[in-house]
Amino acid sequence: MIKSLWEVFNKEDLLECYQCARCTGSCPAAQVMNSYGPRETLLRCLNLGQEAVVTDERIWYCTTCHVCEDRCPQEINIPELLTAIFNLAAQRGNLPEKIKFTLDLVAKTGRSLIINDKVLKDRQKLSLPPMAALNLDEIEGILKKTGLGEIIDLS
């Protein structure tokens, strides 16, 4: 359980931002969604505090493309900051439905998509080997140890 953003991200790095906006200017999500863009998210963290940021669902509007990191003149690791924000947000229950669904699937089956009959048939038609059976106990054990139970129900 992380309590503060600054446990997992160095606040001093953020202070170097001089709000040039090259990040948001390059952000594909900002162009199509009513999102803040990385520049404003960063500024909100600094000026309004982490609470205001991690409880806002709009922070999730990100394609994880990393172009912001590429273009930042101060070499601030924005994706790392956003990952920290997302992790903290998830702990607070600020988590998009679709992600939660995939998470449950991975926890239960070890895969992020459902293998139904059609899939099995298609694979057979192509003479592909069957998908490997996973040691789900092993995976469950790992998930319990890393603490995924903080976010989703692992039972």
Binding site: Q31, T63, H66, D70, K98, S112, E138, G147, L148
Partner: protein
Amino acid sequence: MKYAFFLGCVIPIKYPGFEKATREIMKALGVELMDLPFSCCPAPTNLKLVHYDTWLALAARNLCLAEEAGLSILAMCNGCINTLKEANLILKTDGRRRQQVNQALEGSGHTFKGEIEVKHLLDVLYQEIGLEKIAEMVKYPLQEIRMGCHYGCHLYRPPRIMYPEDLSEAASYVPVSMDHILAILGAKPIEYSRKFLCCGSALGTNIDPQAANEITREKLQHMKKRNIEAVAVACPSCFSQFDRGQMMLERKHHDGFHLPTLYISQLLGLAFGLDQKNLGLEDHRISLGPFLEMIPDSRRQGPA
């Protein structure tokens, strides 16, 4: 040459044709692939964002399986490569993290040692196999078809993790492998504006597919401006955006781009003259008909 074959989730489940195509071209190129009980990588677009520690531990488990087999990993998907390469690098260099993860792996009998490398299919083709060998296998060159490469983001960003050896001082890194491969296959790779813009896939999977498609739409518009005839991708999620996404865009905007998209293994398979029923050509929503007609091929079997 032998690799641990990392299937991921999307290709074997949603686009098994790509898996088949990859197996076939690797066979033709003399590369052995070994199957291991890998789980979801896990994706950098969901689990990593939610619970970093779990993401790292599950990635480590996958890496350990390959280590135990003594093989480096070949991955077919940008998401998988991003997770596995980054996790590999972190665990190799950060002793504290490595200790943490190995503790989580304790009951499972795996210990991360940092003995293998992780490579994307594109890199195995471009660096390990080499353009010369690929050129030798080309039977049906792709007739100078104007193709736009979409590398996707997770393949090479951030470059200091994904391609540290290729960094020069203060330069912006851009990949070139797919363009060169396409050229060797006889196609004509064309530059277009915003070539390195994201396809938007993760936004669609996590939040809003319509918005994600708008991102893809911008790319399609730029490609069309340069009279590109087909799109080449190296990731099934990017493929989904350009293929199913394009179909959804047509329904919404009614401006048909008619730009078929092909996964890299399919293109090699076509150029090598492999049996087309093994190349997953049925999985496409945007018709491949006109594209295939451009390649004279007497061994065409399977649907046109």
